[in-house]
């Protein structure tokens, strides 16, 4: 059961059309699916949204179990400026600290599609502080994957504790959401697939990553979710 804060990259770089229809829109679709998956997985799971670019990072939605609020706020985001990853992460941590249900595990999901300004050492320091406070971090890198690879890999290594954090790099081409659905970020706690027919190896451990586009079970029914129906078809 988790409290997740999603950090959105709404910088000018997200206008780029290398991910259809634009980096920003692909990101928005992925966030909507992610929020849906998390809130469906557990009735008390909460999701919050924060934008990283603009004058200052802003929390648009404080962690809520209400999917409608999250979907709604995604439609009102402006593209502006450059991302400030370090401030965003600090603010996300604060939002998590003030969650209503202290029993929830804490997680930050960061979407990055612009060059990260912070130095590697600074990112590692931030990662260690997150790890110290038991905050897991998933990073989705797309759009500026090559430039950011080294920094994000160092960040991931420093924040990862027993495999609770993931770094998924998505090259241009396949649909961002599809790649994410079959990645460990969607597979969630315990490796359970969130009921998406496209989940690679549905229900199995989170090893997912990479298989672009849904594998799609025959007849579109996940045998792990509904074995009787799958057998009947």
């Amino acid at each position: 059961m988790e409290c997740t804060v999603v950090c959105i990259d709404n910088s000018e770089f997200s206008r780029s059309g290398d991910y259809a229809p634009s980096r920003f829109q692909a990101q928005a679709d992925a966030v909507n699916l992610l929020a849906g998956a998390k809130t469906q997985a557990h009735p008390e799971a909460t999701v919050g949204v924060l934008t990283m670019s603009g004058k200052t990072p802003r929390v648009l939605v404080t962690p809520t179990p209400d999917l409608g609020k999250v979907l709604n706020c995604m439609t009102n985001i402006d593209i502006d400026g450059e991302c400030n990853v370090s401030s965003s992460v600090q603010i996300a941590q604060l939002a998590l600290k003030h969650r209503q249900n202290k029993n929830q595990r804490t997680r930050i999901v960061i979407f990055v599609c612009s060059p990260v300004a912070e130095e590697k050492e600074k990112l590692i320091k931030i990662a260690k502080k997150l790890k110290k406070n038991n905050v897991a971090v998933d990073v989705v890198s797309f759009g500026a994957e090559d430039e950011n690879a080294e920094k994000l890999e160092a960040f991931h290594e420093a924040v990862n504790s027993n495999g609770n954090s993931h770094l998924v790099t998505v090259p241009p081409g396949p649909v961002l959401s599809d790649v994410l659905i079959s990645s460990p970020i969607f597979q969630g706690e315990g490796g359970g697939a969130y009921g998406f027919a496209g989940g690679a190896g549905g229900g199995g451990g989170g090893g997912g990553g990479g298989a672009a586009g849904g594998d799609g079970f025959e007849f579109g029914v996940d045998p792990n979710m509904d074995p009787e129906l799958a057998l009947a078809l």
């Binding site: 600290k97 202290k102 029993n103 260690k128 502080k129 790890k131 110290k132 406070n133 038991n134 504790s161 027993n162």
Partner: protein, 167 residues
Amino acid sequence: MAKDLLEHIDWSQLECLNEQGLHTATNALKQGYREQDELYLESDTDEQLLLNIRFNQRVKLQSIVIKAIDADKAPKSVKLYSNRPHMGFSDTSSVPCAQELELTPAQLKGDPIPLKLVKFSNVDSLSVFVESNQGGEETTKLCKIALFGSSGEVFNVAEIKKQGEEH
């Protein structure tokens, strides 16, 4: 008369911040594990640890045992907080602690350290904050934490059943 409060620890709620994946709080607390010196709790990114222990009922704490064999990495400054569930590191500077301990090498051998009875007379949740270690090392290691005290009168259902079977 103080007894070991091991059976009153709520293991499902046990939380330790900044512990290493392989060297967790269960190594220091659980019966059997805590007796083995090779099974220890070690901190991860720096030398601090924050252990949140919930009890399954209100208990009185009388003493605590903290054992560590690695002299330099052994805890030095330890702060105890009572009834503050889910404490985080940032809370330790703002929340007043119930008792502060400066551990000596003698205490680290495993001698019970008496606690202020008044502060720990009705404890539901205990937080143990290890602030620093003896040698200023990067990580802190300890192999046993044991809590002694007393619990209230508890209706032990298992015992009732036993008597019923005797008839």
